[in-house]
């Protein structure tokens, strides 16, 4: 039950886009059509689902204060937290590279549909943000951390597909000229964020 709660919380209440603005750059740049938004959204779910568990293991077995105890009692005082930023980003970029190669090898169709988005994901704030929130919130098991990662991924996916659909339709509306494109997208995202705020009161 707890796992479902964490998942739902990630999708709606702590939505990566509307509550924390993570991954905004690609969210704004790649949301012109629903098809591309769909591809990028799926790639983000996928990469989050892989990198957060890997970083969780790294955090709990290497970086945390006292985490190196499994090497012997001499290491009980070692605290490598200073390195966490560098390690996380290294894991993320290495995993993205790896995932890219695996997909290219085993599923060329998926690879060509994701195309340029996969390498872009290495610098998507949502991915590193996922790792950092995982560190800050101290999930007790790796399964909980994975559930959080998938939840945030799905939340991000939902947001980008929704804004892409709205942007496709807004072409038919008469938006004031200086607001067209970027400006109105910001304001619509703000309004969607207000709508998503209604989830904040829910206690689960």
């Amino acid at each position: 039950m707890d796992l479902v709660n964490i998942f739902i919380k990630g999708v709606f209440i702590d939505n990566m886009i509307f509550a924390y603005f993570l991954g905004m750059c690609s969210y704004l740049a790649v949301s012109k059509t629903v098809t591309t938004a769909n591809g990028l959204g799926l790639a983000v779910i996928f990469v989050l689902g892989i990198t957060v568990p890997v970083n969780y293991i790294l955090e709990n077995k290497v970086l945390k204060a006292g985490a190196l105890q499994w090497l012997g009692d001499n290491f009980i005082d070692v605290d490598l937290n200073v390195l966490s930023l560098i390690m996380f980003i290294a894991v993320v970029s290495a995993m993205v590279q790896l995932v890219e190669m695996i997909i290219e090898k085993f599923s060329p169709a998926l690879y060509s549909s994701l195309g340029i988005f996969l390498p872009l994901i290495a610098v998507n704030c949502a991915i590193l943000g996922g790792a950092l929130f995982m560190q800050e919130r101290q999930y007790s098991t790796i399964i909980e951390a994975t559930s959080f990662a998938l939840g945030s991924g799905v939340g991000w996916y939902l947001a980008i597909v929704a804004i892409a659909a709205i942007r496709e339709k807004i072409r038919y509306s008469n938006v004031p000229a200086p607001l067209r494109g970027l400006g109105i997208t910001y304001i619509i995202t703000g309004l969607m964020g207000i709508a998503f705020m209604c989830f904040m009161g829910i206690k689960i």
Partner: protein, 212 residues
């Protein structure tokens, strides 16, 4: 002797402040820009951190640019930026613990701030040290002034303070029935405020208007 501050150099700094602004025109570095603008103080700390990281990273990458193999350049760039950000993170934790607490993960997220990667990739990889430094400085300031402007509006109308201090005139306003707009502190309004800044900027300069 070549001049160190020609017209072109001025353009490198001036463009990102206005017509090539990273946030309103290039769509770079938005993630962190919006989340930390509830208070002016946080916005200033963040701006300083970004200015430091960006100018140093651009200079370092520009010095190394002929030695970085093309295939792994992204990882090299990320590692340089990540080391600088780790440095900033530790300094903030030591000297400004309160600000560090409030900025939480967003200092770490400077690493993936697309302005830094974007400028490294687009400029520092192909230009000399001094030009790269100026370009980084210009973009960091362009990012910074939007941040400070948004934070100013949000803190003024959201909590009736600036830099954490009460504004003297506001007490009269409260007596007249004025109330702080709590919506301003919540995340969505940051987007709307940036949207309005874009609106103002583009209505002044028609060249910036997009098709749709």
């Amino acid at each position: 002797m070549k001049s160190f501050f020609t017209k072109q150099h001025q353009k490198l700094i001036a463009d990102p402040m206005g017509d090539q602004n990273p946030i309103t025109i290039q769509v770079l570095g938005i993630c962190s820009a919006l989340a930390i603008t509830t208070q002016l103080e946080n916005a200033l700390v963040m701006t300083l951190a970004v200015i430091f990281v960006m100018t140093s990273a651009s200079s370092i990458i520009s010095l190394l640019r002929n030695h970085i193999p093309n295939r792994i350049r992204i990882i090299v760039q990320l590692l340089v930026v990540a080391s600088l950000v780790a440095l900033v993170d530790q300094i903030l934790k030591a000297f400004l613990p309160d600000a560090s607490e409030q900025l939480s993960v967003f200092i770490g997220l400077i690493i993936t701030n697309c302005i830094i990667m974007g400028r490294l990739e687009a400029f520092a990889m192909g230009n000399k040290l001094w030009e790269s430094f100026l370009d980084a400085l210009g973009n960091a300031f362009g990012y910074g002034w939007i941040l400070v402007a948004v934070a100013f509006v949000r803190e003024l109308f959201g909590s009736g303070k600036l830099m954490g201090y009460e504004i003297p005139g506001f007490t009269y306003l409260y007596d007249l029935g004025y109330m702080n707009n709590n919506l301003m502190i919540l995340p969505p309004m940051a987007l709307v405020v940036v949207g309005l800044i874009i609106w103002m900027q583009r209505s002044k300069n028609n060249d910036l208007i997009e098709e749709n």
